[in-house]
Symmetry: D2
């Protein structure tokens, strides 16, 4: 059964907020995100570098932490207000979700937790306000990334993950399912009125597949690819430029020096009206993955960033070899 | 005083929904919006033509009504659900806002009203669902318009209009004010998390200055201009391409055969977090109107579509001739 | 030895002019080139369809001929004037190049010949003049193709082909060679002042690898890909979008219903000054093929259109398996 | 009478090569061309700065000379080889054209002269070769200017100028003329196979109206405008973005700190075949100047850079006030 969004959630999630990555060489990763992606460096310490998109007034949407291992440390979502943090706390306590308050520099009240499929997450209700750089066009570089938009997480149990998050008010805009059944292979869920803020896809998990920044247009994507090529990261494009069937995004995927994956994309559509049903894609439909062009690399399909201390489990749903070939677009 | 958004409005407005225009030649106007703008025709009757943007699943976002006079008949906003229509009715009754239920083809419950500055509006909670055309790329034409985004209304009293709409939960993202004072000359208000859904600017009003469709990128704007030129509407571009300081929109304004004005634009920024303050622009700051390039034509500044039966009033605030010159970017 | 351009050729070649393809279903191929590529149909007969790019004032740059087999019938080049046709005739007679005058509808004097590696070609000095459609922006479709630009031919003997064509005044802008030697693997030759009009690459030949149309910008390429996807030709993109190291072209390759290959590209650079040396690329340098992104499909590397009656020969130069892997970008 | 290109000129001109500007503040002008336009600085001395476009392998296409007055010092064209310099010398001597050999750093043999309408020019046959930067995408800035393309000169006698240059082999691609007569108001002449290398328009002259760099696409133009706005040069856009009827160029015009004018443009069409007639535009046809959008500023029409020591003369042809209004697009 396709889960339905809870119309009266206990608290209000507003958007994807910030991703925290463990990186093994802080300077090298900063250079990548600043020069090859085009993010703005807000602040640097000996152990941590904070970056943001060009239009973002929040202190950070990407945090790089010096680390021995290249893990995805956690992904962050915004809630509306401090009161929503309290409400989330009460709800998690009642629902038996492991959680705790944490202190985070430059963030307001912050609640860390793991969702039922082991994704390490945190909610926060505010951040230090900094200047929007969107009109500093002379500082635009590479992909002109404007703002963090969404996450994709690989999970061993899409159904459970989807039930949890729709229970918190997220709404499914699109989903993939086994042909002729309701077995969920992927769910695209949103809170901010476009196609997705949080995506779960079937596979060995929990692992962070990618986080995504919105760019102004297709030419930004092409320029990002050109800059990546010029700076020696041309081979680190493991998919795209291409157009997803799902969400209609024009995309480019890049791997950072620790092989974390970042997406640059354009042109999600609006998804607000309640009468609009989610779009279903059979997993045998290759247009799901790309409307045109060559299939993704195997790297794109099978590699992702683990979370520290979270054991990766095999997916509950498995495909026949034939289905898998179709799924990978190898038909 | 700058009005502050009511954090707990009595009902939930979700987005700009549909504009209804009186046009004197139905076929000529349809051809314009289909061929020069690129909208999709959903349905035609003898008296009415319904159009929508390429990605829109709602039956219409533009309605053309055969009419003796070229008026803006009304502008529509969406509310979340039928219950919000009831709540709006109760609220308007209590607040003394003139309103009435109306039957509209292809729309759910619909409430018509005039706001305190005479803008003719209607709320609806749903529409007939139709196919999104966003992946029918072979049907893309002209500006590739994706979805209706916002309205700009000229009013004789920006302060009153702004207080009304912030009272219904809209939030000010940017505003213009007399230098060194709090006299509001324009307010950009949003409900859907980007810079504006409804804008009021100072002038003879109420008049509809324009309605705006979002396009995928800057090259769509340029192609729209090229198509307009090829089809004999090159002179009907009364502003742009250019970049507004306010909202950072890359814009192109076109006049239709009845001189109604439609904007095509790209790259609004996201405005969701409560800690982010609105941006203030002094009216003497010409970058407000365009970050670069030539000033708007006088037509753009002084012409707009009247609402039927609503007397146009002179603005309460007036500028010195010097200020006006700066305002018009004629410095 | 790298051949050097003859500074005083016996006649003046000016540009790539027209390609003639045998197609097995005339209507289906016309629909592809008109709707998926965006070419203009100049004229149709029962057996032949003539098309051209949007800016072209010449009657045709692509000719589709109803045929039992999907061959490349011939490729055409322009010479400056009728006198150049006579001079070419004299030169070919003296040089022992098989040639003959032919009558071609809508073309001036035309000389058919085969070059020393078996490429079927013809020179013509003029064509019927038709309207340039470049300002009919309302008729622009798909990739907005402006003009035929160049050909790439697979040959078993790049050295011989290159010596022949440089002897006729073509100039090498870039070339590929075995690492540390002068063994030519590919030569990019030009007459009109940008990087290439005629390219020969090493492989089983003679076969036409592709012909290429110039498009206005990167967004045209992306729109062409979107339209291809929407019209069911998404899988017929066998390479790109991507950026070649050689020539710096931003490219998209599409296969037509008979598997002839057409390239859409943008941003060749200018190559006019005599003091500028050609650029050499070792075949082990994968950036040669793409500055970024995923390698071409095997289809792109190994499939091409044969010429009728011309036996395909194995290349004189062969690569070690390791070199071949690098050549294919599979490192 | 419209002059016809000399099919056998005494020497071979190949392209627009380099413009030399007197500037009053060397550093300020360098910063403008590097940061607001995006040119590459090749070399700096105390008195002279050399710049080039991203793809150019020639040492310079723009030379800034420290100067008390903001004059256009001269404009340069390339000839094919040293022998063409000799041939030009012989031809000018026979034809009574004032000329002299000059030594120019980084240039081969160079011949300075004034054409019959007083334009200060020089021919050179080669330059020092430097690296093409076109694949250093990480160094791309502002408008991504690729190469110098053409000049526009205001002259008091278009007929005489056109006769001189067509006599040297230039070919008219488009021209403007008084309605119903052959009075030449402007001539667009080319040698390199696209629409123009040298343009003369009617007015007070000789003055350099602008020099133009080709950019990769429309989005480069928009980004250049955004960067200009961000760096305080937004008001120095005195025309565009817009589309000329003549030449079909998508254009943006910027004034430098001394008010010299530089154009960034895209999408000239190819003009090679001899059977293609030039395009005629009546001066009353406003589409000549722009296919769409607002007319140029008066600054664009009436301001231009004088040459040192060359008296500016009133044009031989004058327009009626009505014609002038149309000419200016003020209809």
């Amino acid at each position: 059964m396709l889960p339905v969004s809870n119309p009266h959630p206990q608290f209000s999630i507003t958007r994807a907020s910030h991703v925290v990555l463990g990186v093994t060489d802080l300077e090298r990763s900063r250079d990548f995100y600043r020069d090859v992606v085009g993010l703005v460096v807000t602040e640097e310490t000996d152990t941590t570098i904070y970056l943001r998109g060009l239009e973002e007034a929040a202190h950070h949407s990407l945090v790089l932490e010096r680390s021995a291992a290249a893990h995805a440390h956690r992904i962050g979502l915004r809630v509306r207000s401090d009161e929503d943090i309290h409400a989330a706390e009460r709800h998690f306590a009642a629902a038996g979700i492991e959680h705790r308050r944490v202190e985070r520099d430059h963030q307001g009240p912050t609640l860390q937790f793991r969702d039922p499929v082991g994704t390490l997450m945190e909610f926060t209700s505010s951040m230090d306000v900094v200047d929007r750089k969107m009109q500093n066009y002379d500082e635009y570089r590479a992909g002109f990334p404007q703002r963090l938009d969404h996450y994709q997480v690989v999970t061993y149990d899409v159904q459970t993950a989807t039930e949890f998050w729709t229970g918190l008010g997220m709404r499914i805009s699109e989903y993939t399912a086994t042909d002729g059944s309701d077995e969920l292979w992927g769910s695209w869920m949103e809170v901010k009125g476009n196609t997705h803020d949080l995506v779960f896809t079937n596979g060995r998990g929990p692992r962070l597949h990618h986080f995504a920044y919105a760019v102004p247009d297709g030419s930004s994507l092409l320029h990002a690819a050109d800059v990546a090529g010029a700076m020696g990261f041309g081979d680190e494009i493991d998919r795209g430029p291409g157009r997803h069937g799902i969400s209609n995004a024009l995309f480019l995927y890049l791997r950072d020096p620790d092989q974390h994956r970042v997406e640059l994309f354009n042109t999600h559509y609006q998804f607000i009206d309640l009468e609009t049903p989610p779009i279903r894609w059979d997993i045998s439909n290759a247009r799901r993955a790309q409307l045109w062009g060559m299939p993704a690399s195997n790297r794109w399909f099978f590699e992702a960033s683990e979370f520290p201390g979270e054991a990766v489990q095999d997916p509950l749903l498995t495909a026949t070899p034939q289905t898998l070939e179709t799924y990978l677009g190898l038909h």
